[in-house]
């Protein structure tokens, strides 16, 4: 009898040794004359359990994890192929693991379940229903559905997707030889985020389907996925998935016998965080330095190669098939206030159970890091949580009851961004984190506008001067004032969010962690992180 096993091939599972486990499984089962069918799926997103091995049984899929190469022999000896429960790594039915069972998976409904490269598997799990429904609607009808769904851009800016699509639908190309474009922003550079990567590696057809629908809606026939070069595994999987989609006539001319055409290509970035900013991304796609463009004109009207262009984040586009398949109202019923639907939150950093948690908007941060995350990895006290990437605020415990929705976060001077949640224990130096925020901007600024280019450099210098002054027992008040002033200048004067938001983490440290900003302990810690001997 052949047993079907699932072992992920996403970046995290691989980084924890999944390929070695796969080799050991193949080798030892063949030595035992057992036949297995090993499917390399995408991860379920429970990264603390990777590599997570699943076995198909009559009751459903049974999980074991985290499996290392040394566990394979004992797993096989203890009846893993029959789904037996005696092994210490036995986790029961995958679907019943609370971390997964408590989630509301809409965008990630198929992640980790299907073979990411199999169109057949995709269709078996409700794939392409959204496309088939979209084909029954007019272009305006699709855009209207998007507006009703309440979906807002999941890249971080949270601009209503339907309104963006309407602008592109209404916009005209500059001449009859020109065309409109769908650009997928897969330059997921925020530290603490991996939802784009996971959907591309675990369910790439959902993104492809979303882009086809977007193309039909706004009248675009060419799509580009701008993928960061740090994601080679996502690139391999996406390129294979696109080739498979061409093969089965979901891409190319006369898609599934209709009059619609859509071509899709992956374009790889080159290690520039700023290219996640949409106008910088377009410059890069055009083969230039990724310098931010002044807006207006909006990319929706004058975008790639000067033509109307929809630039959407991976998660926004990968959510489109669900909205069209289940209806805008169904999606809209999730969430709170003006934050509708679900957001895939990403638990990262010093967290015991890190991974992807898709939930409707409205849960509190505390519930997420405690109920799902189970506290810090080190077991030490949780001190600060940075939400929304390197440009997001560091939140002190007093703010952890904030509900995770765009408006509630905005109200406390923080951002939800792309949903990344990075936990720090009490060994963190908040001074070092504030300094790093400025340093990151120095490294990644495109250099076009002065507040960002020069301001970030001055920011690092001022913080360094404060550290030196503190060490020499000199007053730091004047420098403190200078830093506040500098932050204001960057916020008010920068061309884009890079310079405009870099002060957010800095100010959050100054406001909420003043006891830890420029003090003896934190100064020592900063010097240590910079490799300076004491």
């Amino acid at each position: 009898m052949t047993t079907t096993l699932y072992l992920p091939m996403d970046t995290t599972a691989l980084s924890m040794g999944a390929d070695d486990v796969a080799k050991a499984l193949e080798f030892q089962t063949s030595a035992n004359e057992q036949t297995i069918n090993l499917i390399r799926n995408g991860s379920r997103g429970m990264f603390y359990l990777e590599p997570l091995l699943e076995v198909e049984t009559e009751q459903g899929r049974v999980a074991y994890g985290p499996v290392s190469i040394g566990d394979v022999e004992s797993l096989l000896a203890q009846g893993m192929l029959n789904g037996e429960s005696t092994h210490p790594l036995y986790l029961g039915l995958t679907e019943n693991i609370p971390y997964l069972a408590k989630q509301q998976r809409l965008t990630f409904q198929r992640a980790g379940i299907i073979d990411p490269l199999s169109i057949e598997d995709y269709i078996k799990h409700q794939g392409f229903i959204g496309l088939s429904n979209a084909l029954k609607l007019s272009a305006q009808g699709i855009v209207d559905e998007m507006k009703i769904s309440g979906l807002r851009g999941r890249g971080g800016a949270a601009f209503p997707t339907g309104i963006k699509w309407q602008t592109v639908l209404d916009a005209k190309v500059t001449s009859s030889e020109q065309k409109k474009y769908i650009v997928c922003n897969a330059d997921e550079g925020d530290s603490g985020t991996f939802s784009d990567r996971l959907i591309m590696e675990a369910d790439p057809f959902s993104l492809i389907e979303g882009m086809i629908i977007a193309g039909i809606a706004v009248g675009a026939t060419q799509g580009y996925i701008y993928l960061r070069s740090e994601y080679p595994q996502a690139q391999k999987i996406l390129e294979q998935a696109i080739a498979n989609a061409y093969q089965d006539n979901y891409l190319g001319e006369a898609i599934q016998g209709t009059e619609h055409q859509f071509d899709l290509e992956v374009r790889v970035g080159a290690g520039a965080y700023i290219c996640g900013e949409e106008t910088s991304l377009l410059e890069s796609l055009e083969g230039k330095r990724g310098l931010v463009r002044a807006k207006p004109p909006l990319p929706a009207i004058t975008g790639l190669f000067g033509q109307p262009t929809t630039v959407n984040n991976v998660i926004s586009l990968a959510t489109v098939p669900t909205i069209l398949a289940k209806g805008a109202q169904y999606y809209q019923d999730y969430g709170v206030g003006r934050s509708r639907g679900t957001l895939p939150f990403q638990l990262a950093g010093n967290i015991k159970k890190g991974g992807l948690v898709e939930l409707a908007f409205g849960t509190t941060l505390a519930d997420l890091v405690n109920d799902f995350g189970a506290g810090t990895y080190t077991g030490e006290t949780m001190k600060a949580i940075q939400v929304g990437g390197p440009l997001g605020a560091y939140l002190p415990e007093s703010q952890w009851q904030t509900p995770l929705d765009y408006e509630a976060f905005s109200a406390i001077g923080a951002v939800l961004g792309h949903g990344g949640i990075v936990v720090f224990d009490d060994s963190v130096s908040m001074t070092a984190q504030a300094r790093f925020a400025m340093e990151f901007c120095v490294v990644e600024s495109c250099g076009k506008c002065t507040p960002c280019r020069i301001g970030s450099t001055r920011g690092v210098e001022v913080i360094d001067k404060m550290i030196t002054a503190h060490e020499q027992s000199e007053p730091t008040e004047a420098l403190n004032e200078l830093l506040v002033d500098l932050c204001d200048t960057m916020i008010d004067g920068s061309l884009c969010a890079m310079g405009g938001m870099t002060p957010i983490p800095v100010r959050s440290v100054m406001q909420h962690f003043s006891d830890d900003f420029i003090t003896d302990a934190t100064v020592t810690e900063v010097n240590k992180t910079m490799g300076k001997e004491q």
């Binding site: 995290t12 990264f47 991996f194 595994q233 374009r267 890190g354 790093f436």
Partner: protein, 168 residues
């Protein structure tokens, strides 16, 4: 590698790469990727050839190459090791890992070891943030990295390439 009947010059190889992609819209980054993929870096000779192919100036091509951290104008060591400096990795001790790696290899970021085995680079997020700290070598990401694991990994990497008889 299988010996070619005629050995192509660097210039010929670059010209072929340019020719293959020159017609696609926004061809510069794909061309630079292909060149770097072939040589592990972008040889100086590429500037003039790419500029001519795309009807741009060498200065424009140079400007693009130097804007992006991924593109290298100098030949790196056998293995490029990228250490993640993102906040999620910092929260799990990447600063200490960074110091340990620098001292073990006796190089700073952007430098290559004397034996040409390793080039060390910083990277800002590998998307492996739930299993941090992370490093990347070629296309492989390694999670939950620490200085002991790194020492073992670097030893394996040295042996691997040397045993294959590869020369720089």
């Amino acid at each position: 590698m299988i010996a070619n009947s005629k050995v192509e010059s660097i210039e010929q190889i670059i010209s072929e790469i340019v020719e293959k992609k020159v017609k696609i819209p926004g061809a510069l980054l794909p061309i630079l990727h292909d060149i770097q993929h072939h040589f592990d870096y972008i040889p100086k000779a590429a500037l003039a050839i790419v500029a001519q192919g795309l009807q741009q100036t060498e200065a424009e091509i140079y400007g693009v190459i130097t804007f992006y951290a991924h593109f290298q104008l100098n030949k790196p060591g056998r293995h490029t090791i990228e250490i993640c400096r993102g906040e999620a990795c910092q929260a799990m001790g990447s600063n200490a890992l960074e110091q340990a790696v620098k001292s073990q290899l006796a190089v700073d970021f952007g430098e290559t070891t004397a034996d040409k085995n390793f080039t060390l680079e910083p990277v800002y997020c590998l998307g492996n943030c739930a299993c941090s700290p992370s490093i990347k070598v070629a296309d492989n990401v390694y999670g939950r990295m620490n200085s002991e694991k790194f020492a073992k990994l670097s030893e394996q990497l040295s042996l691997y390439k040397i045993s294959l008889g590869e020369e720089l």
